[in-house]
């Protein structure tokens, strides 16, 4: 088991390196840098001015070097000006002696995530704060989505083809066919607009950042949960329906086990193996939902930050966001692998 996790971690690290490098490469393409220079300086900058700005900031170095500096495995970039030496790892212009006292490495490995041009603040704290906001959102989403999806799926799948199954399956299909930007719009229209007039909930979740209440938080949570719920429910249903036709269920039935006990004791664990992986692999998609819903409801969490960073060409913030999201996805994959081994006794753990 230890070796298995170790190998998984190795693959995960390699994946993370590849992905961050791709993001690094795409965000550090010249047009992006040129735009950065112009937004930081002024929009009528000449080409030479752009180049000199970029050189001063270290953006004109070869890509692998820059990536290494950003990671923190290559000494931080320094540049000698008339006033002294400026550098990635310290503020202002310093003399050579002063520079020698500064730390040489300052990448994400050292906890130095860079500076956000959009928020004019350190990237690290921004991400931490936004991530915790999204964490609260996700917590409630999971709490709503997973149990209801499993119950829906198990109820539909335990008697395949029955009326309950048809009804629940239709619900599940409809919710999978409704992306967040559709269901969110419909939910706001029905429950929060003055045109319909119900006004049960708030159409924005800005207030929920300080003080989440049922009124301002339920709609965003429901919107994310609905889309994922249908998918998980359908997976659970398919898996449950398959298990219910398995021979060992017939064995149990012909042993005289009652129907509720067949479902609870014999079918459930087997039927949950497949959906478990699905739930875990839902995370990349949930992130999608988070971005859409946070934009839609103006909830300034992680997804909202991603959109802000990307649309404002905030390179370092975008990099930070990418690293975090890639890691979230990879860690859930790891948990899914380990959990699968744990749930499924057929895979021996030596």
């Amino acid at each position: 088991m230890g070796l298995f996790i170790l190998r998984r971690l190795g693959v995960m690290l390699l994946t993370a390196l590849c992905l961050t490098f791709i993001v690094f490469f795409l965000t550090n393409l010249f047009p992006n840098l040129e735009k950065l220079a112009k937004t930081e300086g002024n929009f009528r900058m000449s080409d030479e001015a752009v180049i000199s700005y970029l050189t001063r900031e270290g953006h004109m170095q070869p890509l692998p070097v820059k990536y290494g500096q950003w990671l923190g495995v290559v000494p931080g970039f320094t540049f000698e000006t008339d006033d002294g030496i400026t550098g990635q790892c310290f503020d202002g212009a310093l003399t050579a002696e002063q520079v020698a006292e500064q730390r040489r490495y300052c990448g994400i490995l050292q906890g130095d995530w860079g500076f956000s041009t959009r928020f004019k603040d350190e990237v690290g704290p921004i991400i931490g704060e936004r991530l915790s906001l999204t964490g609260i959102l996700m917590f409630w989403v999971m709490l709503l989505m997973v149990p209801s999806a499993l119950i829906l799926g198990v109820l539909a799948g335990m008697r395949e083809g029955s009326r309950t199954d048809r009804a629940l399956s239709t619900v599940a299909i409809t919710t999978t066919a409704t992306p967040e930007y559709v269901s969110g719009v419909v939910l706001i229209a029905v429950f929060a607009s003055s045109a319909v007039g119900l006004r049960w909930f708030k159409g924005t979740a800005t207030g929920a950042m300080e003080n989440p209440t049922f009124e301002n938080f339920f709609l965003p949570v429901l919107t994310i949960a609905l889309y994922g719920m249908g998918y998980i429910a359908r997976m659970t249903r398919a898996s449950m329906a398959e298990v219910m036709t398995a021979q060992y269920i017939r064995t149990a039935r012909l042993k005289g086990v009652s129907f509720p006990n067949i479902v609870m004791k014999h079918a459930l664990r087997n039927a949950l193996i497949a959906p478990f992986t699905v739930i875990m692999l839902q995370f990349p998609w949930l992130l999608n939902g988070v971005v859409i819903v946070e934009t839609l409801f103006n909830y300034k969490g992680f997804g909202w930050t991603l959109v802000e960073a990307a649309s404002n060409n905030d390179i370092e913030l975008l990099l930070g966001v990418s690293v975090v999201s890639v890691f979230v996805v990879l860690i859930t994959q790891l948990i899914s692998d380990i959990g699968y081994v744990y749930l499924n006794p057929r895979i021996s753990v030596s």
Partner: protein, 693 residues
């Protein structure tokens, strides 16, 4: 507990009819079926696939699914009609009074539940035992089914046990509440022959010990002979003959039963002198049954206007005990008339050596654990294989799972290359030429017929197209028309109508698919054909026809046939020489006569004893092997067979555990890989004796 006093028959099925309802039509699966099971009696239900025997079992359990329904008749268990019971009543009977054992042991155990829990559940539900008492009971029963180390077994998950052990657990589960009736649905079909023999033995013993009545469903007449007191033969949804084993086996009164016996290779049969008689025609589809007698169109004694006039009831056979037949003419037919001689053939003499193997070895390197990797292990799939095969000769390769016969086929075909040794085809070395480097002639010369008829043809291509493709690849014919003509000739060769060229494989029956497979193999005039269990997945009556077809083509084309099989009856019938394999080793090699007569290799001896033979005149020595076949990943040291050998104690000094025995020549090309001395070998007695009639 639902028990009540009753001393009549345990199970009484009376004029039962079961139908399945699909969108298009009602499909009758069982019609007018009656049988009685007395206390302590074992009744065998025999028939080919699709005859409705499993439906009867599910009907007894009242578990026919959504589409199935009992449309007539009654099933009485200890005098009470099961059809009139409520779900709750049925539940109290299932598992406690009636228990069932299925074909696939792995599938019928819950993979995510420990064995102990699955066993303990039964008495806990039905007898209200607490966990401790239930565990004690489980331990007892697991000991009863002769599993080693019961406590460890109880703690394991099903996948940690071997197939044979799983089936013993399924049997244990059925016996947990000491039921009055045990239904066994092909309980040993998924097991190897030697394991099957041990399981059958166990079922017989336990049936006696617990006084359980049994309904034993099987397609294997020999197995029914060994286990049952009475037998009921089914054909196309109906019982056609019913009676005691002796009456039905020796004085059969229905043409189908007779035809069935004539189509299975009993010890007296011989491919040249006394060939098998296949039943003509095909099994009727459930919605296309003929009027009157269902067997009519395939029957030798068919009388138009009488046999197809109307439904035929069961007639009692006078003079016999509870012997009945569904034949109008059973008193007119001379049941003892000799078989109308099917064309006899002279024995063909083998020609020169075509294929020669010398010390062929094939080792694989596999990871010890598929998911987590780990150390590499070497699996010795084939260990020093040496033999010769001549033109027009049939060489049978016999062995159970893991013996390396499939690997050998792969190496010969060029799908794998040999680790060591050589394969000579017409004195050319081909052991290290993979198939993509072989010339077309070599590829066309060595072809293969596969085991599973439902898998052997590409489901999305017409039959004709598939044969034509083989012709294209083998470079037969210049134009599309020539190839089409040749394809039609090949269909003639395997006795299929030419219209079949444009059919899709799903429109063909299993036997017909297998014929197409044979036609495809002979597309390039193959000289060596490897037939990997070509008939084992087919029904008995079809087996004979396909076997005869193979023999006939072989005679015409002078083909060398390498016939891989685990079924010694058919091997005895058609092969000239036999090679017995166990865990990658050739343990015995010789002519058919030599191998089937003493001295045997101890494994051959056990194998011979394990094969059920459907003949009441045959007396068999009773040899039951302990345990399972060891895994090829982890073979025992020394002789591969030493873990199960009953002669091991006769070899001094524990030699069997230390050294792989040398190949011993016993004269006339008969060779054995065994440490036993010549005297000990000479003392061996024949396993099968045919009692004088």
């Amino acid at each position: 507990m639902a028990t009540w006093e009753y001393d009549g028959p345990i199970l009484e099925i009376d004029k039962l009819s079961i139908s399945f309802f699909t969108r298009l039509r009602e499909i009758p699966a069982v019609m007018d079926f009656s049988v009685k099971v007395q206390p302590g009696e074992a009744v065998g239900l025999v028939g080919e696939s699709g005859c409705g025997k499993s439906t009867v079992a599910l009907g007894v359990m009242q578990d026919l699914g959504k589409n199935g329904r009992i449309v007539g008749g009654s099933i009485k268990f200890k005098g009470r009609d099961l059809g009139e019971m409520s779900d709750d009543e049925l539940r109290t009977i299932r598992g406690s009074q009636i228990a069932m054992i299925y074909q696939e042991p792995m599938a019928s155990l819950n993979p995510a539940m420990k064995i102990a829990k699955q066993l303990m559940e039964v008495p806990m539900i039905h007898e209200g035992l607490d966990e401790k008492a239930a565990y004690q009971r489980a331990l007892e029963v697991v000991t009863d089914v002769k599993l080693p180390d019961p406590e460890r077994i109880l703690k394991s998950y099903p996948h940690q046990l071997s197939g044979g052990q799983q089936q013993r657990i399924v049997i244990a589960m059925a016996l947990m509440s000491k039921p009055s009736l045990l239904i066994l649905d092909e309980p040993t079909t998924a097991l190897d022959v030697t394991v099957e023999a041990a399981v059958v033995e166990l079922v017989k013993d336990l049936g006696k010990k617990y006084g359980t009545s049994m309904l034993f469903i099987s397609h294997n007449l020999g197995l029914v002979l060994e286990t049952c007191d009475r037998i009921c033969v089914m054909y196309s949804g109906e019982a056609v003959e019913r009676g005691s084993i002796e009456d039905v086996f020796d004085e059969m009164q229905h043409p189908y039963t007779q035809a069935l016996f004539r189509s299975i290779p009993l010890p007296g049969a011989d491919k040249n002198a006394r060939p098998l008689v296949a039943i003509p025609g095909n099994f009727p589809l459930p919605h296309e049954r003929p009027p009157g007698c269902n067997f009519g169109p395939r029957c030798d004694y068919f009388e138009a206007g009488r046999c197809d006039a109307g439904d035929i009831p069961m007639f009692d056979v006078p003079g016999n005990d509870r012997h009945a037949t569904r034949c109008l003419r059973f008193q007119e037919i001379d049941w003892h008339a000799p078989i109308e001689a099917a064309a006899q053939h002279d024995k063909t003499e083998p020609g020169q050596v075509v294929l020669k193997m010398e010390n062929l070895k094939k080792y694989y390197e596999v990871a010890a654990n598929a998911l987590f990797g780990g150390d590499k292990k070497v699996v010795k799939a084939n260990e020093t294989l040496s033999f010769e095969a001549r033109e027009s000769e049939t060489l049978a390769i016999v062995g159970e799972s893991g013996c390396g016969k499939s690997t050998f086929a792969k190496v010969l075909m060029g799908l794998e290359t040999a680790t060591d040794g050589q394969i000579l085809l017409d004195n050319r070395n081909i052991e290290s030429t993979p198939i993509e480097n072989r010339d077309t002639k070599t590829v066309a010369d060595v072809q293969m017929v596969f085991q599973n008829p439902f898998d052997t043809l590409n489901p999305s291509m017409t039959v004709g197209r598939q044969i034509i493709r083989a012709l294209e690849i083998f470079g037969v014919g210049e134009t599309e028309e020539e190839r089409r003509e040749r394809m039609l000739q090949l269909l003639d060769l395997v006795k299929l109508p030419r219209e079949f060229a444009d059919r899709m494989p799903r429109q063909l029956s299993g036997g017909q698919k297998q014929r197409v497979g044979i036609a495809r193999a002979f597309a390039g005039d193959a000289r060596i054909v490897v037939a990997d269990e070509p008939v084992s997945a087919l029904d008995v009556s079809v087996q004979a026809a396909v076997t005869d077809l193979l023999m006939e083509i072989q005679r015409e084309q002078k083909t060398t046939l390498l016939f891989i099989s685990h079924d010694l009856s058919i091997v005895r019938y058609l092969s000239d020489r036999v090679m017995v394999m166990y865990l990658g080793h050739v343990v015995e090699l010789g002519t058919t006569e030599q191998v089937f007569a003493p001295p045997y290799h101890p494994y051959t001896e056990a194998l011979l004893s394990a094969v059920p033979i459907a003949d009441t005149h045959v007396e068999k020595q009773h040899i039951v092997l302990d345990g399972d076949i060891p895994s090829a990943m982890n073979p025992p040291p020394g002789c591969p067979f030493q873990t199960r050998c009953r002669w091991k104690s006769e070899v001094p000094g524990g030699l069997c555990e230390k050294e792989v025995p040398p190949v011993r020549q016993l004269g006339d090309g008969h060779q054995v890989k065994c440490h036993l001395s010549d005297e000990q070998l000479a003392r061996m007695e024949p396993v099968i004796k045919i009692a004088a009639e």
